[in-house]
Symmetry: C2
Subunit: 462 residues, 2 copies
């Protein structure tokens, strides 16, 4: 499976203090040898020990491009399983580009997205679900999504699937042996044992399938819509939620928070606040209530927060609530009635007894950060995720979910076939199908198309 | 000089395939030991060889935060001269932040911008001008600015300054000895030799001072204004210039070009195109010519490109040219008359003989990329930078320029003093002053304020 080409890519992003350029493939040492001049050590990098670091310069003929550190790895003890060298250079765009150009001029190829991880998979360093988890890990923005990805990288459910699949493989070989002796009507595969095994596999498949909803929420975050008329305090509320979240990390300079704007992490789960800015801008007095409009945004939300003011009075609050209920009637999304400015007017304007099933109430002052913690808790309860333990086996990937669904159907047919004494060849076909779908998850069965789809979404350099 | 605190920072930027977190200081090994579990090797990192790489996990109690590689460096053979460990982790914001939090909880401090390089300076790993060049190197966007910074990192002019300063120090000690024996009227310091030395120092100082203008252009780029009436093809021209520049690198995926928008690199020099978008927007027919307006932007430009159309006719082109000449009359900025759409109308509408000194002409078709190369060359000639060799000693730093200016004044006074047989104590004072200013450049004389100003502008993690 070892590739013939040698690939290179910038593995870090943007410009910073340092950048790392990764080279992998059979010509790695030859290529880097031709552009790296060590400050002190042996010139031929191949003669140096693996897993060591060396200081020197990258040069383009007479031109010194940069002073760098290089890290040496030797096949098979590397990320890709191939010979790998990582060049740690100064992080200017110019230097990164020059070194890339130089490596390419010496015979390396610019790596495609995910190509390093794809090679790791092809060289047997990890199975396919582990490879997919690498991308999930890099994209993870919350503890829960990180833990799920980390669990999957370490083998997670794929080892279980593989073990059960191996047992199924054993049975199918017995059944296919029966086919060879079909005239003699022998039965090498114990049907009771097979039935037990298929049930066991099916149970795992169903558990994994059922975990997908939670897994998906953990991976992608819970979309939350805050609605209410203008000036009711939506921004202040969002800021209050964000602020508490950010306070935790504000002491650490240099950490990037750009990508997690307008998301709040509560107990490891990411809540994504959907922009309802459009609703704020109406100046029409009749429409001023805002919530009478058809909210497309609400359709995207898993939970809706209706924000009103304590001073709005019972009638207006009811009207708002009814309008939102109307919007949500075909969905089961929970609704949280948030009574803001509870420090100014009496928040008891609304009686909790008027709430329906799936509706929650919270009385806060966004400005004074009153009851924000309680709101966070209400949000968690409304979404009903509870505490997620990273030991839990969770499916987060649509591809896995689809494969599990298909495997479930095949396993169901196997069980039917066993109870109705289906001919061996038909039974074997159903088992083969289940094996195929299970193998797709771990990558024991794969096609270029599947691989292409998976690794296309990786970042370059991974 | 060794620091008591141990610092940590993310040395790469943003989220990518991998990120590198750097730890430096006396407790580096102790801190990383407490959060890193090696996969195979010896648990106590201190017992492992320096300059080696180890695979393992970063854990927070039972929680596995990430699978990482760590690179071990031991004082004094590290970037800072202290014990250093670099943690190469998956590049998610979440993981970077968790590891930073973890290191800080174990006693590390978040590094200030440039603190690693500041420690390298304080520990004698580099002088101050070399340290400053590290920031320049990371910021360098063109070959020329990169080469100047690289030259400075490798010692560049600071070694010369240091050598001459050491010789001056020798003389001042002799002169101060004379002061001790002032009653006896002895002369330990040979005045002819001293005069020769001071002249030599002054020559270097003047050369360096004079290189600042070019150095600054190389470092910051040449500001260019393209002016002309709307629809004359400014955007098309800019795109044509940019495109040729970008074609060189477009084959390499993953290189960051974001930060060099609207700049064109020609023969290693960066040209920054100043936004004159405002001029494009006028719809006033009288003002439609555009160039009659007072262009604030022109004041910022080192060279102005006046873009007209071949079909504009001689009269209109002259009018435009006169208006621009009016704007530029107090400045010596060169002017390039660019006659666009030369493929449609006759570009000979304007006679080259009408050009004045410092004015250039170029006939192009931006749309068809005709003569764009010639325009690039004209731009180079107009700015008159010529080929910059990276061996040239160039000053790019205002701080250095100011120190050289001050040193130049002191040296002048020393020479005056020598020719007028100034008393030893006054002569000594002038030499001391010169020594002080020269020492400021290399950091042999420094204050917390100077250091603070320098390293504040570094990025975090460097």
């Amino acid at each position: 499976m070892i590739s013939e080409s040698t690939i290179c890519a910038i593995a870090t992003s943007g410009t910073g203090a340092i950048a790392v350029i990764r080279v992998s493939g059979p010509a790695t040492y030859e290529i880097v040898n031709s552009v790296f001049k060590p400050a002190k050590t042996e010139k031929d990098l191949l003669k140096l020990s693996a897993n060591t670091i060396h200081f020197g310069t990258i040069h383009d003929g007479e031109d010194v491009v940069d002073e760098v550190l290089i890290s040496l790895f030797r096949s098979p003890h590397s990320y890709t399983g191939e010979d790998v060298i990582e060049i740690s250079c100064h992080g200017s765009a110019y230097i990164q580009q020059r070194i890339m150009e130089l490596l390419i001029s010496k015979g390396a190829e610019a790596a495609r997205p995910g190509e390093f991880t794809q090679r790791a998979f092809l060289n047997g360093k990890m199975d396919l679900s582990q490879a997919e988890a690498v991308a999930d890990l890099i994209a993870a923005e919350s503890k829960a999504s990180h833990d799920v990805a980390m669990h999957q990288i370490k083998g997670g459910f794929s080892k279980k699937i593989k073990d059960l699949r191996d047992k199924l493989l054993h049975f199918i070989s017995l059944i296919e042996l029966e086919l060879d002796f079909s005239e003699e009507d022998v039965e090498f595969a114990d049907r009771t044992e097979l039935s037990l095994l298929v049930n066991e596999v099916k149970e795992l498949v169903e558990t994994l399938k059922n975990s997908f909803q939670l897994g998906n929420v953990i991976k992608s975050g819970v979309p939350v819509a805050i609605v209410g008329r203008p000036n009711v305090g939506k921004s202040t509320l969002l800021n209050a939620l964000l602020e508490e979240d950010r306070a935790i990390v504000s002491e650490i300079e240099g950490t990037t928070r750009d990508s997690i704007e307008d998301t709040v992490v509560i107990d490891g789960i990411t809540y994504r606040f959907i922009d309802t800015a459009g609703l704020r801008e109406t100046a029409d007095t009749i429409e001023n209530l805002g919530i009478r409009r058809t909210y497309q945004k609400i359709g995207q939300a898993s939970v809706v927060m209706l924000l009103v003011e304590a001073s709005d009075g019972q009638e207006l609050i009811f009207e708002s609530l009814r309008a939102i209920r109307e919007q949500l009637k075909d969905r089961k999304s929970p609704l949280i009635l948030v009574i803001n400015k509870s420090d100014i007017a009496d928040p008891r304007v609304f009686d909790d007894n008027f709430l329906e099933k799936g509706e929650y109430i919270c009385r806060i002052s966004a400005r004074n950060h009153q009851n924000i913690d309680q709101l966070r808790e209400t949000l968690m309860n409304a979404v009903n995720i509870g505490h997620v333990k990273h030991q839990d086996v969770l499916i987060t990937n649509v591809r896995h979910f689809n494969a599990l669904n298909a495997a479930s159907g095949s396993l169901e047919r196997v069980l039917d076939g066993l109870s109705s004494a289906l001919p061996q060849d038909l039974l074997a076909q159903d088992i083969r199908e289940a094996l195929h779908y299970l193998g797709e998850i771990t990558g024991e069965v794969t096609t270029d198309e599947i691989l292409g789809n998976i690794f296309r979404n990786f970042c370059i350099g991974k």
